[in-house]
Subunit: 385 residues, 2 copies
């Protein structure tokens, strides 16, 4: 409103069309300096409330919106977190396909939003020029395959990376995973107690950590209790193959009297296969599968499921990542501000810190020879860090 001589410098002469108002325009209109505008809007500096509110008013009137790009360049923070999802074929695969990942992604999105960050979906098959063109403060990677080039590259660029699923060979800042070993052991014990004499496994052919750890735990258990392993593996991304594998498993001469299926659709598939072979569940066959879907509460009979608690995982992963982003000054490596557990500070040497989260076994009729009980608490994993 006041005088406020032209502070725009050369800009005034040049194109002065419909461009969005910049901080300079606000400064000029309010009759103050750029510094003052910046301070007033960001709540910094020492300014009397009167000036502060006046500047804000002017900014509002001009419809001023700070340039995110400029701010990012200046501060080195974009407020963006990558969500790396594996792809199958052309499509981002795990993203919405499995209830687990969908839930996890939703929880991660919420958690990030709550702390002022947004998520960028970053398919693993992304062209290098796409994601290298995005200013990321950090990345969440879901179930990284061994030697994921994207993760390696990001990590080397100094971008913090936190993975859902214990990483194979990728260097990561931190990781979060369920205690798959404890979960599988818990299920096998549960089935044994329910009377199972020979427990089979429906597993996958891929090399991701979940499949590998779960299968190994199963095999170790078999070895320990002296049962011959009975399992079928199939490519988990192929829904049709799951039904076939379930059928194969029940068609074996050494047919199991209880089966644990590692993947979400296995419950339905196994149930259908059991019907085809005239097997009653749970009388002739005990069934458990790993799933986040609640359809298994209403199947006939309801099926016992193992929940990996994806929301908890998603939230934890994002919080760890943001802690890493905000806690460590990228340049000096010193903690700034926030309280910050020292274990995340392991810079380079030693394995990245991991967090194991408990699972939950939801017991239903399919694994109970008698009347089913209600939800039961999971076997707590050995108190890992």
């Amino acid at each position: 409103m006041t005088a406020a001589a032209n502070q725009n410098g050369r800009r005034a002469t040049a194109s002065r069309r419909l461009e969005r108002a910049g901080i300079r325009d606000v400064a000029a209109a309010a009759g103050v300096s750029i510094t003052t505008v910046s301070d007033a809007l960001n709540g910094k500096g020492r300014l009397p409330d009167e000036t502060r509110s006046r500047v804000r008013e002017v900014a509002e009137r001009l419809g001023y919106r700070p340039s995110a790009a400029a701010r990012t360049l200046r501060t080195g923070r974009s407020g963006l977190i990558g969500l790396t999802v594996t792809t199958y074929g052309e499509e981002p695969f795990t993203f919405t396909e499995f209830a687990y990942f969908a839930e996890m992604a939703r929880a991660a999105t919420s958690a990030a939003l709550g702390r002022g960050y947004a998520l960028v979906v970053l398919p693993a098959s992304s062209r290098h020029d796409v994601w290298s063109n995005i200013a990321l403060d950090g990345t969440v990677v879901i179930d990284p395959p061994d030697q994921d080039p994207l993760v390696t590259e990001l990590y080397r660029s100094g971008v913090p990376v936190v993975s859902d699923g214990k990483p194979g060979n990728c260097p990561v800042t931190a990781w979060v995973d369920n205690d798959h070993e404890a979960a599988v052991l818990g299920i096998l014990e549960h089935l044994s107690e329910a009377g199972a004499r020979r427990i089979g496994l429906l597993t996958g052919t891929s090399t991701d950590t979940y499949t590998r750890l779960s299968t190994e735990a199963y095999l170790a258990w078999c070895d320990r209790v002296g049962q011959e392993p009975v399992y079928e593996a199939y490519p988990a991304h192929d829904p049709a193959a799951g039904a076939v594998a379930a059928d194969r498993l029940l068609a074996r001469p050494d047919r199991p009297d209880a089966v644990y299926g590692l993947f979400d659709p296995n419950g339905t598939d196994l149930l259908a296969a059991a019907r085809r072979y005239g097997l009653r569940v749970p009388d002739d066959l005990l069934l458990v599968c790993c799933s986040e879907s609640d359809v298994y509460a209403n199947t006939e009979p309801p099926i016992t499921t193992l929940s990996l608690k994806p929301r908890r995982i998603g939230t934890t992963v994002v919080n760890l990542l943001i802690d890493a982003i905000e806690g460590v000054d990228a340049d000096t490596g010193t903690a700034t501000g926030r309280l910050f557990p020292p274990r995340y500070r392991t810079a380079g040497t030693g394995p990245p810190p991991g967090t194991l989260m408990p699972t939950e076994l939801i017991v239903r009729a399919s694994s109970q020879p008698r009347a089913p009980r209600t939800t039961v608490s999971p076997p707590r994993p050995p108190g890992e860090v």
Copy 2:
């Protein structure tokens, strides 16, 4: 390798620690100017191949990664597209909850990636400071409610906005939707031909376009053929309410002999309700619901579904948006480069251009009094834009 005197100016004196290599460092190391490095790496300018490859080599050796923030600031392009999802409670709702949105989001992600863009998930409940802090080239908005403040704000900022679902009062650059009117009419005709005398509707209480247009089409049809409307509405985001509403609908004194359910879970709910009332499907009750899920191929009996073809929608939305982003120079309003249908150019006046996409009715046993036929082609909507 060569001499290449210190071109860093003041930087050399200051902090020279572990900072990532910048374009200046590459220039110095290659003994050329910044301009040359930029041109060499971006394939611009006139440079002999020898220089180009040498510069690239040096850049590679130094592990040079251009700063996305700086590039965005300079070029005004971030390569980022917002994906606005509605929220229910704390969580991003439609994002992964419904098969339609999940499929649509996946297709959109792929399409964007294919054209060099990445998607940022932007819950509608986002704090203003979060998404206003992100440099977006454009935004896809899923099913915008009337007067969506986020959309309005974005549009006013000059960010192109394309919506999935015909927008109510929001100003958008363009929109894509199914021809819900034609779809509903097609279903009602289909049911009539199958012998239905009184067709009921299971609909929602929310005001989104899909619900509104579908319900209106139903009411108009009732009016035209002289049938008394028979419908129940419930809050679509509440799964439990759906089952209750299905029950209510079949408990009415004027019980319909055919029902169309607008939402994905309606098929299961209606089937369960029918069982409770001892109604046989399709003999006593014809059933159709709108769903992208293939579980309805295996229910007992299989249920006829209307598919909205979400992948096609997602792809189209993104392509329209990117066309708008790349086709129009933000400053001059003139088309640059790409071929670009003139209809997107309507700047400000007139309604935004919309595209109607056909749906597909997948006929199964639940709507066929006799033996079911296989998939049937949809009634093509009246050839719109």
